[in-house]
């Protein structure tokens, strides 16, 4: 029976559209192949090809604000390049790059062994660190005097208790003990915890912290991109969490530092391993990262840096990565990607401090740039 099903028509149309692509696993490029052939005696720094190119990326919301700024600046330098980054969470980035529905993924949580095993056979993935960020605890508390509370200090036990649900109001004595100067103003308001509803590298970093500092948390919840939260509301993305906290009096959540800045919410000073209360900051995470440089893994899959040593170290710091295949099926896209990543690891690093992220430590930055040489297309390196 000649069923002219809509599906057949749709598939035919889609096949025609897809047929315009390179026909491989990578999504289509819009323009002519680059005029700078790979491997030739080109410039010493990688540049994108000429002709319109679009790159599709998806993943972590943690660095999303940074990537938006990078994409804008890169497109100013190279107007023929358009990059669409959809912030759908680290889990989404890993899934996207695994299913090859995106050109590059992004995640703060390095891919686990099981996730790497799920990649298509014969492919190899690179973790390219791009920035360091702090996971801060944001809060929205209206004090007894009617003004917003500022300068809240919390220690590990406080944070664990709040997110376990054992500490239920802001006037709890254990919180007051850490905040002698504002204790009188802390209201009886019920605490509403807000966590991530989606699979998140930020959650991974935050729960790694809780897992390390709280035996109760370790036994009942554990660490990971998605965990079974004992209490609280879920919200999608770093943006959703900060938005949700902003909308509710008494709410507390965890986000990357820049989201706290953008939302205007206070972020708590957390007691670090040296016993000092430290606010999330670029300097704080740089200090934390420097203290573990020696043990940075060769495959770049560095776990979140929890309770690093040092007076200035902020206790919850995380690298964030771009995930890209070693072998790029489309030469134009691959060349653009390498150029963008190189720019991110050089000029891009200068943008980070201004918006609350920390640039990579020099040695890591160098190693990451070295990694770019590994990216090939059709067997030969894009940037030899």
């Amino acid at each position: 029976m000649n069923i002219l099903s809509k599906r057949a028509v749709g598939l035919a149309l889609a096949a025609i559209l897809a047929g315009c692509s390179s026909g491989g696993a990578s999504p289509t490029a819009q323009g002519t192949p680059g005029t700078t052939p790979a491997g030739s005696a080109g410039p010493s720094t990688p540049v994108p090809p000429t002709g319109d190119v679009t790159l599709q990326g998806a993943g972590a919301t943690f660095p999303a604000l940074l990537y938006q700024v990078w994409i804008e600046k890169f497109s100013e330098a190279y107007p023929n390049v358009a990059i669409n980054y959809q912030a759908i969470g680290s889990g989404g980035g890993i899934k996207g790059i695994t299913q090859q529905t995106v050109d590059f993924g992004a995640s703060d949580a390095a891919m686990k062994d099981t996730e790497i095993a799920a990649l298509p056979a014969g492919t190899k993935i690179l973790h390219i660190p791009t920035a360091l960020g702090a996971v801060v605890v944001i809060y929205n508390i209206k004090g007894k005097d009617g003004n917003a509370i500022k300068g809240l200090k919390l220690d590990a036990a406080n944070i664990a208790g709040i997110f376990l649900g054992t500490i239920t109001t802001w006037s709890d004595p254990t919180i007051a003990a850490n905040n002698p100067d504002i204790a009188a103003n802390l209201p009886d308001t019920a605490i509403l915890t807000v966590h991530r509803a989606d699979s998140s590298g930020t959650t991974n970093a935050f729960t790694s912290y809780l897992d390390a500092v709280s035996p109760d948390w370790h036994t009942s919840v554990g660490a990971g991109k998605e965990v079974k939260w004992p209490v609280g509301n879920g919200a999608p993305g770093n943006d959703g969490v900060s938005g949700s906290v902003k909308q509710t009096d008494g709410a507390v959540g965890y986000v990357e530092l820049q989201y706290a800045v953008v939302s205007g919410l206070g972020s708590a000073q957390v007691k670090n391993a040296a016993g000092k209360f430290v606010a999330g900051s670029s300097a704080g995470v740089t200090s934390a990262a420097n203290s573990v440089l020696a043990s940075f893994p060769a495959d770049f899959r560095q776990a979140p840096i929890i309770n690093a040593a040092g007076d200035d170290a902020y206790p919850i710091a995380s690298y964030t990565y771009i995930l890209a295949y070693v072998d790029q099926t489309d030469a134009t896209q691959g060349q653009t990607l390498v150029a963008f990543l190189y720019w991110a690891l050089t000029d891009g690093q200068k943008e980070e401090k201004a918006i609350g992220y920390a640039p990579l430590p020099d040695s890591i930055d160098q190693k990451a740039i070295e990694e770019l040489h590994q990216i090939t297309t059709g067997g030969s390196p894009i940037w030899p």
């Binding site: 809509k6 759908i88 890993i94 991109k225």
Partner: protein, 325 residues
């Protein structure tokens, strides 16, 4: 919304082709349009096949305990749908409990009590309620309804009934109750318009008989009209319920997205639809995706069953009714 009698093809059972010989262009036309018509059946069939095939993995691993399991833990590979089934049912139940009295009373008002000059604009306004996109309801719910509910209704309920676990605070605005209220607004137009149709189709002799016996207007309505229309009204409520179960965006934005079973109506929760919406794009290939699709299948089965029951009930009173929107 009109009630039309059961349609039969015009000009006899063989329709336009009647008894005359069929010509080729007409045969092609009939065949062509037939193909398009059966496409709809094909889409539905494909949809069901796809859902069933992709759910096999998770049902194979967990069996029926997928439906009764209370743990949704992708990290540990544990999948239980109960928190979302409860969230779906609870939010829709709140919606129906609120929409039933308001909706039926309004339908009665529009069909029996209001003059044409009042009824028509009012019906117009209520049908516009149905046209508002879900995401706009969600936006309004997050920034307006949530805080208002928190300050008024929820505070009052917790104050007076908070000793009951189901009303236990603290109320944060966002949560199961807020989702229920938004759903109420979204299903009211459905409940009202179908109820109104059903009530209008109650034959006049029922009303006249009641009035002749000396009943007041209200008694006429409650003792003659409503009982006659009862199954149709129940059908309208079930159709509204079916709508509520499948609503996604507004619910996702105000329900609090928590994967635990809610203890109180002010707790955050998650429906099947909102769970799929928030996690499908990042669900791990394999078991997690299969689990989400299985959730979708459960939802589809529930809504399909309710739809069929509802239409049968409505048809009995008012004849086949189509919702135009």
């Amino acid at each position: 919304m009109s009630a039309v009698p059961t349609p039969t093809p015009p000009l006899g059972p063989r329709g336009l082709l009647g008894g005359s010989g069929s010509r080729l262009p007409d045969l092609v036309f009939r065949g062509g349009t037939g193909v398009f018509a059966w496409v709809v059946v094909a889409i539905l069939g494909l949809l069901l096949i796809l859902l069933v095939l992709n759910s096999r993995q998770v049902f194979g691993q967990f069996g029926l305990s997928f439906v009764t399991g209370t743990d949704w833990d992708p990290v540990a590979g544990m999948y239980g749908a109960l928190p979302f089934i409860i969230g779906t049912v609870a939010s829709s139940l709140i919606a129906i409990l609120l929409a039933a009295p308001i909706g039926i009373l309004t339908a009665v008002f529009l069909a029996e009590l209001a003059s044409r000059r009042v009824a028509v604009p009012l019906t117009f306004a209520i049908e516009l309620l149905a046209a508002i996109p879900s995401v706009v309801y969600g936006l309004w719910g997050v920034f307006v309804l949530g805080p208002v509910l928190k300050a008024t209704v929820e505070a009052w309920l917790v104050g007076t009934l908070g000793w009951l676990p189901i009303f236990a605070g603290p109320p944060f605005g966002i949560g199961l109750f807020a989702a229920g209220v938004i759903l109420t607004l979204m299903i009211l137009p459905t409940v009202i318009s179908i109820s109104r149709d059903v009530i209008s189709s109650v034959p006049n002799h029922q009303r006249e008989a009641m009035l002749a016996l000396g009943a007041t207007r209200w008694e006429m309505i409650t003792r003659a009209v409503l009982p006659f229309a009862r199954s149709g009204i129940v059908g309208a409520l079930i159709l509204g319920l079916g709508r509520a179960l499948g609503e996604t965006m507004a619910v996702t934005m105000v329900i609090g997205n928590s994967q635990r079973i809610p203890q109180s109506i002010f707790d955050p929760s998650q429906t099947i639809a909102s769970q799929i919406a928030t996690t499908f794009n990042e669900a791990g290939v394999g078991l997690q995706t299969s689990a989400l699709i299985a959730l979708g299948l459960i939802l589809l089965v529930i809504t399909m069953t309710l739809n069929v029951i509802a239409r049968l009930l409505v048809w009995r009173v008012a004849g086949p009714v189509t919702e135009a929107a």
